[in-house]
Symmetry: C2
Subunit: 153 residues, 2 copies
DNA sequence: GCGATTTAGTTGAGCGTTCAACTAGATGGC
DNA sequence: GCCATCTAGTTGAACGCTCAACTAAATCGC
């Protein structure tokens, strides 16, 4: 038998469109601000953040890819760019000869440190300032639920 | 005096990272599904949807750009692709000689009709199935708040 | 041990987006 | 009426991402 599509009802439709507009608007805005103020897209900023938090500021490519929710290909290209900018260096992995370590240079750290305050202000201004504490809590729960759910499906 | 950055507290940090992971994961997944099943990215799907809902299936380029939250340049490129695929046609605007109308062809409508059920199932499976009705309501309010807020800042 | 499979990472082509520069037509001030 | 300004839309280059194909090294099965 033909499986009928469960179309979205009016509430779901409205929710879905608002969600699309909000997330796209938010990410576009933050991306533009970061590009303007720090000369890098948000995805690259996130890579630098993850490296800055890692022990000795270095991570295996695969771990970095997982941490940033990126494909290996995407990360490979990104690290190539960041290396060309002087913000990241590659190193051989001592325990696995296939492996590569990405490490944050001092220059990369300085760039990140200079970019962070403005970016955090942006996240605050465009996201958290608009929401009540209860909504922040709701958004966290919803997001964590979705992350878990996406890993299963 | 130097303005101190209001850093994110632990809860906000956690919310922000979960939000990033969730929205990126969700959009990546839907994009990949739509590309695989319908041969188009989500942004193009949205353009076809908006056109299909418009009177006589046609819209001014600017209105379409606003409706899809897209820059004019992006829309211009996108319509060029969709036109090459035979899904959209351009027409002169009768009331403004600078203007262009984008109109959905029968072929475009058929492609959209074929893609829609699968895409809606995807949205349901990856988003709405994971959330309680209360969370859907929360997400709608949060999204609408953010959309309003972004227009102001 | 050794071949088959898996895992780590890279590469290049093609596509979509951005940004800045541009053309052309509409509109406002006087 | 006419010049300045604004609005509509396009263009091309640069960039980032995706996908598929690839190399090389580790691991599994026996």
């Amino acid at each position: 038998m033909v499986v009928m599509t469960r179309w979205l009802d009016e509430d779901e439709q409205r929710t879905w469109r608002a969600f699309l507009t909000a997330t796209r608007g938010l990410m576009d805005t933050l991306d533009r601000e970061l590009q303007r103020d720090a000369g890098m897209p948000h995805a690259y900023y996130e890579i630098l953040v993850r490296l800055s938090e890692a022990p000795e500021r270095r991570l295996r490519m695969s771990d970095l890819a997982d941490a940033t929710g990126s494909s290996r290909s995407r990360l490979s290209h990104a690290i190539a760019r960041l290396e060309a900018a002087g913000w990241v260096r590659r190193e051989e992995c001592p325990t696995d000869r296939r492996g590569q370590l990405a490490l944050l240079t001092d220059e990369g750290f300085a760039t990140l440190a200079a970019a962070a305050p403005g970016h955090v202000e942006g996240v605050r201004r465009h996201l958290f300032d608009a929401l009540t504490p209860a909504q922040v809590d709701q958004l966290r729960r919803i997001s964590e639920t979705l992350v878990d759910h996406l890993r299963e499906t």
